[in-house]
Subunit: 397 residues, 2 copies
C-alpha cells in the first residue's frame, strides 16, 4: 500500500460524483447541477469566430502560452473587467484553469495544515474542497438574507489564532442564492480593515443579475478598492461563455500575484491556449455582452417559474429566497429536518437536488437544500417542484 | 504584507519566464523551448473534425465534464494506450490538464514537507517545480547514456529515510535526450521490487522515435507490469497533437487513482471539455497515427541537421548524445565550464538555449546545456549551431 501525504490521507470520496450520475439520468428532473443549460451555449457564434481567425492565431491555439495567460486575452479581459469598475491597472490578472483553480492556487498560497480559514455557512462546495485539500481548519460563519453575519465575523476575528483569509461569494451566492446588500459590504470592509486578513471575493455569478437597479449591490468590493485590505478577486467564463472551456481568473495585488504565478506554473504550466483564443475572440467581437444579456433574461424566466411553483406547492414553514440573479434557491427547513431523507423520497418521485450538509463547512447541518433552476425549462420546473414539495411534506409534515 | 504558507514562502521566481521571452524574440534563433513547431500542428484536420461533430457533441464541449475525463475520450484513449501494451483494464485512467498536472497531483498525493523524493539528475524542470511546490527534499541520481545510475539508486534506497517515490523520464529524456536500454529498465525494476517505493514513469516523448528497431527499449515499464511496484504512468497530448489543448493523463493503480481523482476535483473540477472533444475526434478518426508518423520524420530531419552541425562545429571536449527520438541534445562541457556565461555570449551572437543548472535538482551544476531542435528548420539549425559552438570555445577554450 502506498504511503500518501498527510493532507491527502484524510480526503474521502464525496457524494458529488453519485449526485452527478443521478443528475444525468434522463428519467429524473435534476435541480442538482450548477451548470448552465446546454441549449444556451453560443456554439454557432464561437465556431464562426474561430473560422475567421488567421492561421497564426489558430496555430497559437495549439501551442503553449505564457503562464499568466495569452497576452491578447489578458488585454481583452482587462477591458471587460474595467467596465465593472475593477482596478485592473493597480493589480495583476492571472488566467486560471477555471475559477476552481484560482481558489486552489490561493489556498496553496496561504494555507498551512491545520490553519484556520473563514468561510460562509453555507459555502460553495468547490471552495470547501480546495481548502480541505490543504488541510485547512474551516470556520463557518452564518449567512442571512443580506450577507455574512457581521457579529459572527467579529467573533472569529477576535479569536487568538489569526485566520489566513476570509472567502465569500457575495453576488448570487452558491448555494444560498442571496445578493449582499451595499450596507453589509461596508460593514464587512470596516471590520476587515486593520486585521491583515486577505479577502477572497468570488464573483462567478455577478453578470447574471435580473434587475438593473441592483448595480450598486453588485459592485465588487475589489472595485470599491478599500484601503488596507488585500482583496483577491476571482471570476470565471463558466457562466458567461461555457464551463467546458475551463477558464477563470484572479485579479490580485502584485505581491500575491508573484506567488500565484509560480504556483500556477507548477500546477499546469498554463491554461488551455485553445479555449483562451476562443474566449478572446468572443470578448473582442462584443458578442459576450449581447450573449450575457440574453442568458440573463432566460435565467430570469426560469427563476420566475421556480418561484411560482414554490409559492404554490411549498408548505409555509419552509423559508427561501426569491433570487435576484444567479442559479439558486436555498430552502431552509425546520431544525430537525433531514434533507437527505427528503432527497431519497424525491428521487423515487423523479426529481433530485443537493442536500444542505454538502455546503456546510462542518459537513453536518442538513435542514436545508439547494435547488438550481439554471438547467431546466419552465415546464420541467413546473413538473419537478411538486415532487420536491411532496417529499418535504412527507418528511416534515 | 500577507502571510504565505510555508511551502510557498520558499518559492522563488525561476529564470524560465525570462528565457521564454528571449526565445520568442524574432532576431534570436531559439534552441531553448521544448515546444513543437507551430508549423507542424494539425490545424486544418482538427477544424474539419470539429465541424463534422453533431450539435450534442459541440454543446458537451462547452459543458462541465466528469472529473476523470469525458467518457468518450477515456474510451478512445484507452484504445490508443492499449496498442502500446499498457494494462488499461487493470488500472484507472485519469485525464489531466496537461501531464504537468498529472505530476502535480501525484506530488500532492505523496509528498509531505521535507520528505525525500528520488529524481534523475538532470531532471525535467516541470517535475522539479511541481515537487518543490510541495516542499520535497529532492535527491538527484545521475543519468548516463543508458539510463539512471543503478548504483546511485541503490545508495539512495539504502538510506534510512524512505523516499516517497522515484520519478523518471526513460524515453527521450528531457533534458538528457537519452533512451533507457532494456537492460537498465530490468535492473531498475529489480532494485525497486520489495521497497514499496512507487515509480512515476513519465512518457511524454515516447511516440517520437526515429528508429523502428527501438520498440523493445520503448516498451513502458508500466507495460512490463512488474510485480510489487506501483507504477504511475503519465503521458501527454502535447507532443502528439498540441500543448495548447492542455491534455495529459495518468494510468495508475486503483488505490492511487481514488486519491488522485479527489485532488483533481479540488484542483480544477475537470479538464477542458472543449479540447477533450477535439482530442477524442482526432483519435477516433485515426488521424493521430498518420500525424504522429509524419512529425516523427520531420523531427528526425531536424535532429539530423543538428547532429551534422554539431559534428562540424563543436570542440572535441564536448560530450553529447545522438538522439534516437524526442526533442533534445544534451551537451556536457568540461567540469569548470559555466553554461550561463556561454549563454550570455550566445545571445549576443543571436542564439539561445537552456543552461544545465536549470535541470539540476540542486540548481547548481552548470557544465552542461540543453539544445532543442524541435522548433527550428534545418536552415535555422545550420545558422544557429555555429553561434553556440563559438560561445563554447570563447568560454572553454
Amino acid at each position: 500500500m502506498p504511503r500518501f501525504s498527510k493532507a491527502v490521507s484524510s480526503l474521502r470520496s464525496s457524494e458529488i460524483r453519485d449526485l452527478m450520475t443521478l443528475a444525468s439520468r434522463p428519467d429524473i428532473i435534476s435541480f442538482a447541477g450548477g451548470m448552465p443549460g446546454n441549449d444556451l451555449f453560443p456554439v454557432q457564434a464561437v465556431e464562426e469566430l474561430y473560422a475567421q481567425l488567421d492561421i497564426k492565431k489558430k496555430q497559437a491555439a495549439f501551442q503553449y502560452g505564457p503562464t499568466p495567460g495569452l497576452p491578447s486575452l489578458l488585454e481583452s479581459l482587462e477591458g471587460f473587467l474595467e467596465k465593472k469598475g475593477l482596478p485592473v491597472k493597480e493589480n495583476r490578472l492571472l488566467i486560471t484553469t477555471g475559477s476552481q483553480q484560482a481558489l486552489n492556487i490561493l489556498a496553496k498560497a496561504f494555507i498551512d495544515p491545520a490553519e484556520p480559514v473563514l468561510v460562509e455557512k453555507p459555502c460553495f462546495i468547490g471552495a470547501l474542497s480546495a481548502f480541505r485539500s490543504y488541510d485547512a481548519e474551516l470556520r463557518g460563519i452564518a449567512v442571512d438574507s443580506d450577507g455574512i453575519s457581521i457579529e459572527g465575523l467579529r467573533q472569529e476575528i477576535n479569536r487568538n489564532e489569526k485566520a489566513k483569509f476570509l472567502y465569500i461569494t457575495p453576488y448570487f451566492h452558491n448555494p444560498a442564492g442571496i445578493l449582499y446588500t451595499a450596507e453589509r459590504k461596508e460593514q464587512l470592509i470596516a471590520i476587515l480593515q486593520g486585521t491583515n486578513i486577505p479577502l477572497i471575493e468570488d464573483d462567478a455569478y455577478g453578470d447574471l443579475y435580473f434587475f438593473e437597479e441592483d448595480q450598486e449591490r453588485l459592485k465588487p468590493i475589489k472595485a470599491i478598492n478599500p484601503d488596507g485590505i488585500n482583496v483577491c478577486y476571482t471570476g470565471s467564463f463558466s457562466k458567461i461563455l461555457g464551463p467546458g472551456l475551463r477558464l477563470g481568473w484572479m485579479l490580485v495585488p502584485e505581491k500575491i500575484y508573484a506567488k500565484c504565478e509560480l504556483i500556477k506554473q507548477s500546477a499546469d504550466a498554463c491554461s488551455p491556449s485553445f479555449t483562451q483564443v476562443l474566449a478572446d475572440a468572443f470578448i473582442r467581437s462584443g458578442q459576450i455582452y449581447s450573449y450575457v444579456a440574453g442568458v440573463r433574461q432566460e435565467y430570469k424566466k426560469r427563476a420566475a417559474a421556480m418561484v411560482s411553483a414554490l409559492r404554490e406547492h411549498l408548505p409555509d414553514y419552509v423559508q427561501w429566497n426569491e433570487p435576484r440573479g444567479g442559479f439558486y434557491i436555498w430552502l431552509i427547513l425546520p431544525n430537525e429536518a433531514d434533507a437527505t431523507r427528503i432527497m431519497t423520497l424525491a428521487i423515487e418521485g423523479g426529481a433530485v437536488f443537493v442536500a444542505g450538509k454538502t455546503f456546510d463547512p462542518a459537513g453536518r447541518q442538513n435542514n436545508s437544500l439547494r435547488l438550481s433552476y439554471c438547467n431546466n425549462t419552465p415546464e420541467q420546473i413546473a413538473e419537478g417542484i411538486p415532487i420536491v414539495a411532496s417529499a418535504i411534506r412527507a418528511v416534515c409534515g
